[in-house]
């Protein structure tokens, strides 16, 4: 089998595109989802990414029909599935703790739902054997879940989704119970599975590496709202706001507040706050920045440069050096009291309590207004080309 039947290109429009409009959901007085709007294309692999409590699992469960909505609508293809029962939505879900029936063997786990929906024995066997073949669990079909390793259980849980031949796969943190090594293996297998099945997949995770490596696009959620919806590289290089900028990337982006000294067309000059020297940088020509409000400069730790005192924009003392081999993470306390992290090559001779001088390369800066929204800046052509490639691949 190469692709699931639902996903065969028919040319009759999006079979498994998801459209979510103004979705709201609360538990008592706590509003968890605050008006979610999303358009997910047919066959896309989309991750819901965010910190604990941001509403990503609730959003997934709402799509699955396991949560009753307060308002809003969900469309799968041309069908409004908002009020449909879970079983009628043509979806399959993989749960965080696998949710395998412990008293049934693997074959029974895979076939249980199908048998109770009146499917013929031959067809059930075909689907189960097919899924087992895809996931390489054929030799485990007679075993009970307790006789399987974590990775094998995960495969069975995915197999239970595959046998349904759904239009949409929903995966709720499926790798979070696995150890680090197995997680990497399963991540690769999941990506291959998506490629092979060609079905729309929505994947919930709080692990940005999973989201960045698996997804066509990532939905970053913050406090029940979509903070940004874009390709992994877009999120990294063009974060829409301070939250996304701080959440995506490890070690996290450094932030320095500063004041606008002057704006000469597209060139901004910043000083004060955490800066010891003026910093000039280009924005898009149309950008207007309010002079009376502070701005926030964002800079990735690996882009900070250790320089001589006369070239430095920032000065601080080294608090801790974490040597990881190929690189070292240098934690710095700036003179104005804020903290910062710089990534330097592994053998760089820097030590604790040392005074350190840092330069912010203007071309690698991100800029955010007083409300935390990104101020648009041009990317270097190479990065822009990569992002465009990623987008065009998704469209294709």
């Amino acid at each position: 089998m190469s692709r699931l039947p639902h996903c065969s290109p028919s040319g009759e429009g999006p079979l498994a595109a998801i459209r979510i409009e103004n979705l709201r959901k609360g538990f008592g007085s706590l509003e968890v989802l605050k008006g979610i709007n999303l358009d997910i294309a047919d066959g896309e692999f989309v991750c819901f990414l965010g910190p604990s409590g941001c509403g990503k699992s609730t959003l997934l469960r709402s799509i699955a029909g396991l949560e009753e909505l307060d308002s809003g609508s969900i469309h799968l293809g041309d069908r409004d599935i908002t009020d449909l029962r879970s079983a009628k939505r043509d979806i399959a879900m993989v749960f965080q703790n696998y949710a395998l029936y412990p008293h049934m063997n693997v074959r029974k786990n895979l076939s249980f739902g199908l048998a109770l929906n009146g499917m013929k024995r031959d067809e059930i066997d075909r689907r189960v054997d097919n899924a087992a073949d895809i996931l390489r669990i054929s030799e485990l079909l007679h075993r009970k879940p307790r006789q399987l390793s974590g990775g094998q259980r995960q495969r069975v849980a995915i197999g239970r989704a595959i046998v349904r031949e759904p239009k949409l796969f929903l995966l709720d943190e499926p790798l979070s119970n696995l150890d680090a090594g197995l997680r990497v293996t399963m991540r690769v297998e999941l990506a291959a599975l998506h490629e092979r099945l060609g079905v729309t997949m929505i994947y919930v995770t709080h692990d940005q590496v999973e989201a960045m490596t698996l997804s066509d696009r990532v939905v970053v959620l913050d406090k029940g709202k979509v903070s940004q919806f874009g390709t992994p590289l877009e999120l990294f290089y063009q974060p829409a706001n301070l939250f996304v900028a701080g959440f995506i990337g490890s070690p996290r982006m450094n932030f320095v507040t500063a004041n606008l000294v002057r704006q000469d067309r597209s060139e901004l000059t910043l000083s004060g706050g955490g800066l010891v020297r003026e910093l000039s940088l280009e924005t898009l020509s149309s950008t207007v920045v309010a002079k009376e409000k502070p701005v926030t400069i964002g800079i990735r730790p690996d882009k900070l440069e250790l320089v001589s005192p006369e070239e430095a924009h920032l000065v601080g003392d080294v608090r801790l050096v974490e040597r990881l081999g190929t690189e070292s993470h240098v934690h710095i306390a700036l003179e104005n009291g804020s903290d910062m992290t710089a990534v330097v090559r592994g053998t760089h001779p820097v030590s604790n309590r040392e005074r350190i001088h840092l330069r912010i390369p203007a071309e690698h800066c991100h800029l955010f207004d007083a409300d935390g929204k990104a101020i648009a800046r041009a990317l270097d052509p190479e990065t822009q080309m990569l992002i465009n490639q990623e987008k065009s691949k998704r469209v294709a």
């Binding site: 699955a64 396991l66 008293h103 739902g113 109770l116 009970k144 307790r146 006789q147 094998q152």
Partner: protein
């Protein structure tokens, strides 16, 4: 070279003493329980077994009779068979009712969100009321003239029967009174229900498994060990039925509620034939043991244990 030297002997003796103390300490700590077990469980058990081989009047000479007590009971005592039959009838109705009603109540309490604590307490409370108080309440409920049950029946135009005076109804009355204490069983099953991960039901719901099938193929198998436990304890308590029958009907009317436990009780404390009563107790023990072992053996087909790996499950752990 002679390795002994002055002071070696006492040192070795001290070491030996301390080793004995080290080994004895745990037994000393559990000695109160061991003493209780020896005097109040194992002692009476062995004593009753010995008694069952004697003609053992309370007053007078005891005589060794071998298996005569057992032989007489089985071949020459119709009351033995009658009381056993009544007990089996009672158990056959009481045990399934006890489990099914406890299960339904547990399901209800598991699913309600409103005042669940109140209902849990309300249903459990009767099971901690002492047998005598329970019988007092039920004798008032069953009273022909002034009983609550007949009063309620009269409200819908039914002339209530004499619950405790009718040989056909008296056992029913005792079954109902016994079921009043199902709170304990209900609580065990409720705990079991709460331990079933809700994701199993969610996975089934997404897969289109209907509610009845979820109960049949998920809830019941997952409750297997609890159901087995309550099944066996219900059988044991059914065979031990004495208090309610003794106080409510005294075995009547016409011996219709003359349970096996009452038969043993009468032989011991009415006819003062301790040897015969002891033999009756051992017969009861053997019957209950055989039933329990039978149920345990049968349960292998339907009870699932998370930690257990059976031969036909597969070829070992991954």
């Amino acid at each position: 070279m002679d390795m002994t030297y002055a002071g070696a002997e006492p040192k070795m003796a001290r070491r030996k003493r301390s080793a004995i103390a080290r080994h004895a300490a745990p037994y000393l700590f559990i000695s109160p329980w061991i003493l209780g077990f020896l005097f109040f469980t194992l002692g009476p058990l062995v004593f009753s077994l010995t008694m069952s081989f004697y003609d053992w009047p309370v007053v007078g000479e005891r005589t060794f009779v071998g298996l005569d007590n057992y032989r007489t009971m089985i071949s020459d005592d119709p009351q033995f068979w009658e009381s056993l039959w009544i007990t089996v009838k009672f158990a056959a109705i009481y045990v399934p009712f006890n489990i099914v009603m406890s299960f339904l109540l547990a399901m209800m309490l598991h699913n309600i969100t409103f005042a669940s604590g109140f209902f849990r307490t309300a249903f459990y409370l009767p099971s901690v009321i002492s047998g005598v108080a329970l019988v007092t309440i039920w004798s008032w409920i069953y009273s022909k003239e002034y009983g609550l049950l007949n009063f309620m029946l009269s409200l819908v135009g039914i002339d209530g029967p004499n619950w405790l005076g009718d040989p056909n109804l008296a056992i029913v009355a005792i079954i109902i009174a016994s079921l009043w204490g199902l709170g304990g069983t209900m609580l065990i099953l409720l705990t079991g229900l709460k331990a079933i991960p809700k994701e199993l039901y969610e996975a089934a719901t997404v897969s289109g498994v209907p509610g009845w099938a979820q109960m049949l193929f998920i809830t019941l198998p997952m409750l297997g060990p609890m159901l087995l436990f309550t099944f066996i304890t219900s059988i044991i308590s059914a065979f031990q039925q004495l208090t309610i029958a003794l106080l409510l009907t005294k075995g009547g009317p016409l011996g219709s509620t003359y349970f096996f436990a009452m038969y043993i009780y009468d032989n011991a404390f009415k006819y003062f034939d301790m040897g015969y009563a002891a033999a009756g107790s051992w017969v009861m023990f053997i019957i209950v043991l055989a039933l329990s072992l039978g149920v345990m053996r049968w349960s292998a087909a339907w009870v699932y244990y998370e930690g257990e790996v059976r031969q036909n499950d597969g070829d070992g752990h991954a």
